[in-house]
């Protein structure tokens, strides 16, 4: 007996977006598919790619991360080399959180210098994240855009700062990550605003805000699915690759608290917490994942077949 399997065909296609690499590096292309994940029909030229976050700030690491990257935490350049060379990260997400007044308060010039240094040290594609302080970021993004000797992506452009971030990115040929707080209408709105500025659509990624496992992950999964369905159904402003940054998984008490004996080993649990967060994002349709645990690069890439 032959079973006729259903197919879900869509009129739209996710725009392919490429994170450029330096000389000798491998660029990462995301998107290009015209189907949902885990289905046999349709085309999906680019499997999801997994990158790693490297932070410039000083912080107390959860035990699982401390065991894995603690020795390198104060040397972002050395850490990024290992991410790419040893752990298989396809791209890097450099967070300049060290420029935040509460996380070290390094100067904007310092942040820009780190970007230059890191880009010289590795040819991997790079996304540069701001520090989260509105005033500092307003100076940081233009400085980074100018300092970067090759194209990167700036993360992130949102409703308040998109002119500034997109302007800086346009002037120096970079891409942007457009951010919205788990809200499909705002995700669309910010991409419309970017389009109005004349920002090239093939240089825009969507960051829908990724909640950690147990702390709003279900909202992220649903918003990623809705963005993807809208994009495939023909909404060009949402037909963009989706980036899920798994950093919030490490803010969960369950991923870092060693005091609860009944929860199992905190090192194994922390790593699983991030992994489960990433797998749920993949199941919803995420195209790019950013993780922090070295072991999870291979784990999540291993599920990135769709």
């Amino acid at each position: 007996m032959t079973v006729v399997l259903p197919e879900q065909k869509f009129p739209g296609r996710i725009l392919p977006v490429t994170l450029p690499a330096g000389p000798g590096g491998t660029p990462v292309t995301a998107g290009g598919q015209n189907v949902l994940p885990f289905t046999p029909e349709g085309e999906r030229p680019n499997p999801p790619a997994v990158g790693m976050e490297v932070r410039s700030g000083v912080e107390e690491l959860p035990p699982a991360l401390d065991a894995a990257i603690g020795k390198l935490a104060r040397d972002p350049v050395a850490l990024s080399r290992r991410c790419v060379d040893d752990w298989g990260a396809r791209f890097l997400f450099l967070s300049l959180d060290g420029c935040h007044p509460d996380a070290g308060g390094r100067s904007v010039a310092d942040g820009a210098a780190l970007v230059r240094e890191l880009l010289a040290a590795t040819p991997a594609p790079v996304i540069v994240g701001g520090c989260g302080d509105e005033d500092v970021d307003a100076r940081l993004f233009p400085a980074v855009a100018e300092a970067a000797p090759r194209p990167v992506f700036l993360s992130y452009a949102e409703e308040k700062n998109y002119r500034l971030v997109a302007g800086a990115a346009l002037a120096y040929g970079h891409g942007v990550v457009s951010w919205s707080p788990i809200d499909i209408n705002m995700a669309k709105q910010i991409n419309l605003l970017l389009a109005d500025l004349g920002f090239p659509p093939e240089r825009v990624l969507i960051d829908p805000l990724t909640g950690g496992l147990g702390y709003g992950l279900e909202y992220t999964c649903s918003i990623v699915e809705r963005i993807r369905l809208a994009g495939l159904s023909g909404d060009a402003m949402l037909a963009r690759p989706v980036l899920c940054h798994l950093g919030d998984a490490w803010k969960a008490r369950e991923s870092a608290d060693a005091s609860e004996g009944s929860w199992g080993d905190v090192v194994a649990r922390g790593r699983r917490w991030e992994e489960a967060t990433g797998l749920a994002c993949l199941s919803a349709g995420a195209d790019l994942l950013v993780c922090r645990h070295p072991g999870n690069v291979a784990r999540l890439s291993g599920a990135a077949w769709r």
Binding site: L213, A276, S283, G302
Partner: protein, 450 residues
Amino acid sequence: MALTALEIYKLLPKTNCRDCGFPTCLAFAMQLAAGKATIDLCLPASEEAKETLGAAAAPPLPKVVVGTGERAVVLGDETVLFRHEKTFYHPTAIAVSVRDDLEPAAFAARLAAVRALSFERVGQRISVDLVAVRCVSGDPARYARAAVAAAEGAGLPLVLLAPAGPLAAAAEASAASRPLLAPPPSDLGAAARIAAERKLPLRVRARGIEGLAAALPAARAAGAKELVADPAPETPREAVADAVQVRRLAILSRNRDLAYPTAFDLCAPFPDPFLAAALLIPKYGSLLVLDTTDPADLLPLLTLRQNVFTDPQRPIQVEPGVYAVGNVTPSSPVLITTNFSLTYFTVRGDTEASKTPAYLLIADVDGMSVLTAWAAGKFTGESIAKMLSGCGIEEKVAHRTLILPGMVARLSGRIEELSKWRVLVGPQESSALPSYLRRLPPAAFLPANG
């Protein structure tokens, strides 16, 4: 496929007799189409109409119940592909395996480990749902004893993973507890007859969708009615692809021959059970059997399940009240927010990140976020003033200064009017709390004079 109101209307008597309680047959048809009424309200309806509409109203994915009483597990009975379309109703059931050939002490220890896989999260208990007893001994008497002991020891419904002989023995010993029979593919016929005779649910295992398309009718022909489909994948990738296909066959094709709840045996030698489980929870697995009893594996999976199966229309609420964050003192700051779980966790996380001990007042607004609750008239000057005097915070701190979410700054006047409290307007976004709290002058929280 679901019928439209007009299609349903054509099947009705069109007499507008009103006996159903609706003014016209068309109005009743619209209610039927929306799933808000059932055909049995229409007494004069023809047999044909009843049959057609009854079939159309049955859930596209049938419901299978394993176990009895409070711990009974419901599999299937889902209606959508994406949770935002409505909700997912029946959480992926998780079974942990135990072998029947273990020494008594090891057997008891294993069951104790299964029992311990139960955690409290946001006011809900999340636990492993079933114990799966795997026949390794091949001895029917021993297997039946193990099954009974496992059900008692774990206090959970059973999955019986065994060939026909031991399965028959265990089914006889434990039929009253409604175990799920899970024979190997070679023993399907014999097991289906046991299931039919004892009216028990049966897991049908066969390779891939094509395999199930042959095995499921065979099980039905033998009289088994409540079926669960296991496509016997060899990799996580196959598992997810098969689960997606079965769900799409049920929802999109309304294929009644293949639409059953899915089960996956992720025990050795299945590669990478954690990865498969984390994908099958959001993507349509109804029952997963796992070998691990490590809480570092199960707590993430059970939490993921809790997330995915939360009704998008009914957010998880946090118990309203006073929450202390850090080592609070009578001069710690007091912040108020609402009992929407995400709001609470965000504010709590950001308060913890500030390293400033503080009290959080969680207002009862039926689980809405701050702005939504304000717009709905549930987070008002009156309700906040009432909470300040009634929740016990006035005995815990010596000062009377409240930090109000910046989004509802306009409530400050009313709160100060109705209570003894002074209001500081906090940041609009919770993410700004760490720097806000660190910069607060301590003098703001000195004891109030008089």
